[in-house]
Amino acid sequence: MLEVRDLGVWFGDRQVVAVDALDLDKSQTLGIVGETGSGKSMTAYAIAGLAPGMGARVEGSVKLDGQELIGLSDGALRDIRGRRIAMIFQAPISSLNPVFRVGDVFLRALRLHGASKADARERAAEAMRSVALSPDLLHRYPHQLSGGQAQRVAIAMAVALRADVLIADEPTSALDVTVQAEILDVLEKLRAEESLAMLFISHDLAVVSGICDTVAIMYDGEVVERGPVSETLHHPSHPYTRELLAAVPKLTTPEATDA
């Protein structure tokens, strides 16, 4: 459903992304992994149509169900971003306006995309339940939410807008590990129940191996290895992927000591 070909992102003379191909299907999760400066976030921004607003020049092709997104007008892009592609960030609080109650943010977004007031309320409550939050939290201000709750609210927003593709940029990197596990559960459930396609940007190979079907390893703006998680992370072929995997500190498992 999402097809990226020869994507190039430039800041002036400097090319920061040179991705030959990425593909994402319905109900699939594609992980993009890399270290600082690898271009993984900029790739996501370019796919979401946010890169030009950051002063970058974008080349190549990004197709959503056959429709070319590169070169679309701002208005057309905004419509697609609201309706079909949603994005969540590492700091969930940044996607929520601090002066509005959570519910108001939902209502404005849903009304903007044509829902009636009653319908918008119903969809907001339903979306909150789908991420295991009480609809009562809709009455709170963003600062009254914990980090995990705020991230679930950001995900609920994507659900309420019935997005087909969710671009998640390090969505759990700022969260404690037990909270991270809860968010990953929520994303896993949405993929199954809402057929959500997800682009999951992360520096954490272990998280990616748990939640993604396919993975692309980025280094210096390029995808150096990509394929199914089972192959790429368990039998890596690129030396950089191997270095990355070897660098992850590992815990001893009970099985390893029990034998």
């Binding site: 037990t178 990953l184 191996s209 995997l245 660098a247 500190p249 815990l251 000591t257």
Partner: protein, 314 residues
Amino acid sequence: MLEVRDLVVRYGPVVAVDGVTLSVPAGPAGLGLVGESGSGKTTIGRAIVRLTEPASGEVTVDGLNAFNAKRGDLKADRKSVQIVFQDPDSTLDPRMRVGPAITEALRAHAVVERSAWPARVTELLTAVGLQAEHADRLPHQLSGGQRQRVAIARALAVEPRLLVLDEPTSALDVTVQARVLELIAGLREERSLAYLLISHNLAVVEQLCEQVAVLYLGQVVEQGEAARVLTWPVHPYTRALRTAVPELSETLPAPATKRAEPPNPADPPPGCRFHPRCPLAVDRCRSERPLPREVGGRLVACHRAEDSLAETRG
């Protein structure tokens, strides 16, 4: 060499650290402090280096009480205990070159003669895997990993007895982290270092520490040999923490805890602080605070430790 007894630290009405007892033997030795946001692990580190004043309790380094020390002795204390933070930029002056930054520490604590300073700077840079020419660089001319190496070199300059490492690699990329962890492991043996490693990463602690203490809302819930506690956790919180860690080899296991509002440190739950999230909680847990006791070869503060141990042994 480090003894922390019944340490209590308050921030206004919040009891950030509530009666923590820890010890680190003479080096080479590492004690890991693990826990999530609000567990008090960073506050304990700050209290040990006297950046935070405790409400009560005792911290001794080599038998000397760190809190009763006279003003002049404070400098001596700072010399024996040094801290390395997560963000090296918070300790490095952006306008000061690496060489002078390290020399400053040598001068302040009168570690060696003035004539020996340049040689000592080179020696310290080499010890942390940098070169003599890095002395002329400004912090922004170095990578994040190199800046953290400089912060470690500066902490080592005063030849401390104990290092407090507060999330020293959490801001670094994983390949850079691996090299800094190797550096710490190497220095530990070469210099017989003792350290307190504060980390949210259990695997990092297992790699660098013999002992571990697990904190939850300001209290130690489980403490013992790192290999034992992290591989075979007994306290339901340690178990939840352990199962929540994503691993490369398997799909994510479901969290063992109940979903609950995050705990409020200003108004901690009565009884066992973990009981609102604990799958094993019984009435007693809601009213009576569990004290640490020895179960399964480690200290655990849990009324149901035996049952929990039986479950993990499956």
